[in-house]
């Protein structure tokens, strides 16, 4: 295989992978999440943002398929981020998943209003998120 071909196939592989971005302000948790996500084949973690501003600039730099975000952040908050994204058609196709410790019905309702498709309890429902991401990495986001 020619080096150029190898590069192209690598690129294809990378493009085919599910591009995930994580917004989480706690290091222990983001480390754990990225550790767990690394085990999913065909999933690429583009980056981890700790604040609302950081998340926005990261999103503007590179598009992602799945955005996993927490509600309470060190600066700003997940809902504000969702509000901004919902107003921008460029992010309409991004799958938004909230992973938070704020799990009351009111939070779920508000998140739904801002186009969140999945809502997981950070403490007890992480395995379910992992399963969802594994499935999506296989079938693609459109399914």
């Amino acid at each position: 295989m020619m080096p150029a071909q190898r590069d192209a196939s690598l690129l294809e592989q990378k493009q085919a992978a599910l591009r995930v971005m994580l917004v989480e302000d706690s290091h222990i948790i983001s480390d754990l999440i990225s550790e767990n996500l690394a085990r999913i084949p065909k999933l690429r973690l583009l980056g981890i943002a700790e604040t609302e501003t950081e998340a926005l600039s990261m999103l503007q730099e590179q598009p992602c398929d799945v955005l996993i975000l927490d509600i309470q952040l060190r600066q700003g908050n997940g809902i504000n981020l969702l509000r901004v994204l919902s107003a921008d058609p460029a992010y309409a196709k991004t799958l938004k998943i909230v992973l938070s410790n704020h799990v009351s019905g009111t939070y779920r309702r508000i998140c739904e209003q801002y186009g969140v498709q999945f809502f997981f309890d950070k403490t007890s429902e992480f395995p379910q998120l992992q399963m969802l991401l594994s499935r999506l990495s296989q079938t693609g986001i459109d399914s």
Partner: protein, 445 residues
């Protein structure tokens, strides 16, 4: 003038015709007697003389008796009058209360010595002068009211307060004006009797000044206490918020990562019964720890309030109350977003929390209406329940801190809290807070 006013003349005028008539009658009767030869002519002369003398004597004697009696009556009356006069003079001369009489034209016609002293004039200088001008000359203030024409026109008594004298020795008088009525009831002038009320006035003024000073102190201290209470409340909220944040960032994150680690570890546990049971216990423990931490966190600080504002926070609060008991809640919130400032938001939220806690604890209600209304200059929160109602005794209980806290907090923010009976029983709590002063000066101690 008729005889009633001149008894002597009347009596004489009546006595003379009577005497003449009696003389004529008796003379005629005696003359008839002589004609019938009952006695001789010489006897007639004697009889005539005797009878006439007798008649004249009787008439004069009677007249003299009447004159005596009239004189005696007059003397009695005169002495009574002079006694009254001297008594009146004694009273008016010795009293320390100034007495004035002015005629219809406002001229002074009488003043007792105290009155003259008040005017600072002698009797000769004062009498015949206008009373108003005399008082004005004596440094009077407010005596214009003494010219009130109602006393003469409507014949009513009036009392006015006025003062006399230079400012450093000014005396205040309460003067009662009564109409001076003539024999036919017409008003001839006004009788003024003044009482020196300077010391009473002074005492009143001192008392009033002391009262207002006291009120000022009380209101100043109340304001300080309210500011202090507000400061404590703000500090408490800040501390609670800090603890909640710590709970979220530290405990919450640790618990979350512990759970995640455990999820990875569970498949490695031996599959015997002992470990299956242990796994279930560990999961239960973790769940209960997470639930408690989250509950504490929300109670300490409703994150919803910081993230989504008062409307969402109230929704969440009501959801929480719904889960706690058999009470139905009807919520009415403004359609538009509410921007009333952070401080007012947390105040309204805590007030609602306090009111609902009271309803759950004491009201025995099955239905609660919550209405939040915000307009340009105020925010109004009304909570209406269908419970047993709030008795005044329980409201005024010395340890009803919750209710008092509501009132104090509202008062500090320039608002009000009212408790009333609902139309169908139960209690209506109405909170009104102005939107103008959400920027409150920091407390200075």
């Amino acid at each position: 003038m008729d005889g009633q006013h001149r008894p002597g003349a009347h009596m004489l005028r009546r006595a003379l015709p009577l005497a003449l008539l009696a003389l004529a009658g008796v003379n005629w009767a005696l003359y008839r007697g002589a004609l019938h030869s009952l006695y001789s002519l010489s006897t007639l002369v004697f009889l005539l003389t005797l009878a006439d003398c007798l008649i004249l004597l009787l008439v004069f004697w009677q007249a003299a008796r009447l004159a005596d009696r009239a004189h005696q009556d007059l003397r009695h009356a005169t002495s009574g009058l002079s006694e009254t006069m001297s008594l009146l003079a004694a009273v008016s001369d010795s009293t320390a209360d100034p007495i004035f009489v002015r005629n219809r034209d406002g001229m002074l016609v009488f003043a007792n010595p105290a009155g003259l002293r008040m005017l600072g004039r002698s009797r000769e200088q004062a009498l015949g002068q206008p009373l108003g001008a005399l008082l004005g000359g004596a440094g009077g203030v407010g005596h214009e009211a003494l010219d009130d024409s109602r006393v003469v026109q409507e014949k009513v008594s009036l009392t006015v307060e006025h003062s006399v004298g230079p400012s450093e020795t000014r005396r205040t008088f309460a003067t009662t004006m009564s109409p001076w009525l003539g024999p036919d009831g017409e008003a001839l002038g006004v009788v003024c009797i003044s009482t020196d009320i300077s010391s009473r006035k002074e005492a009143e003024d001192t008392l009033r000044a002391r009262e207002s000073r006291l009120e000022e102190i009380v209101s100043r201290r109340t304001a300080t206490l309210r500011r202090l209470a507000d400061h404590l409340e703000t500090v408490r909220e800040e501390e609670k918020r800090a603890i909640a944040r710590e709970l979220h960032d530290d405990m919450g994150a640790s618990l979350t990562s512990l759970s995640m680690h455990m999820e990875g570890a569970y498949p490695l546990l031996p599959s015997d019964t002992q470990w299956t049971e242990r796994k279930a216990k560990i999961q239960n423990l973790l769940r209960s720890l997470v639930t408690t931490t989250r509950r504490m966190q929300t109670e300490l600080r409703p994150t919803m309030l910081d993230l989504f504002g008062i409307k969402a926070a109230i929704h969440e609060l009501i959801d929480d109350f719904r889960q706690r008991g058999n009470i139905e809640y009807d919520l009415s919130l403004p359609d538009e977003d509410i921007a009333i400032g952070h401080k007012l938001e947390i105040t309204v939220y805590r007030m609602l929390q306090e009111i609902l806690n009271n309803v759950v604890k004491h009201a025995q209600a099955t239905h609660v209406d919550i209405i939040l209304d915000v307009d340009e200059d105020r925010v109004a929160l009304t909570v209406r329940d269908n419970g047993i109602g709030l008795s005044p005794e329980s409201r005024d209980r010395p340890n009803a801190y919750g209710l008092r806290g509501l009132q104090e907090r509202a008062a500090f923010l320039g608002g009000t809290v009212s408790f009333s009976k609902g139309r169908n029983g139960g209690t209506v709590v109405a909170v009104q807070l102005p939107l103008t002063n959400d920027q409150v000066d920091p407390v200075s101690l």
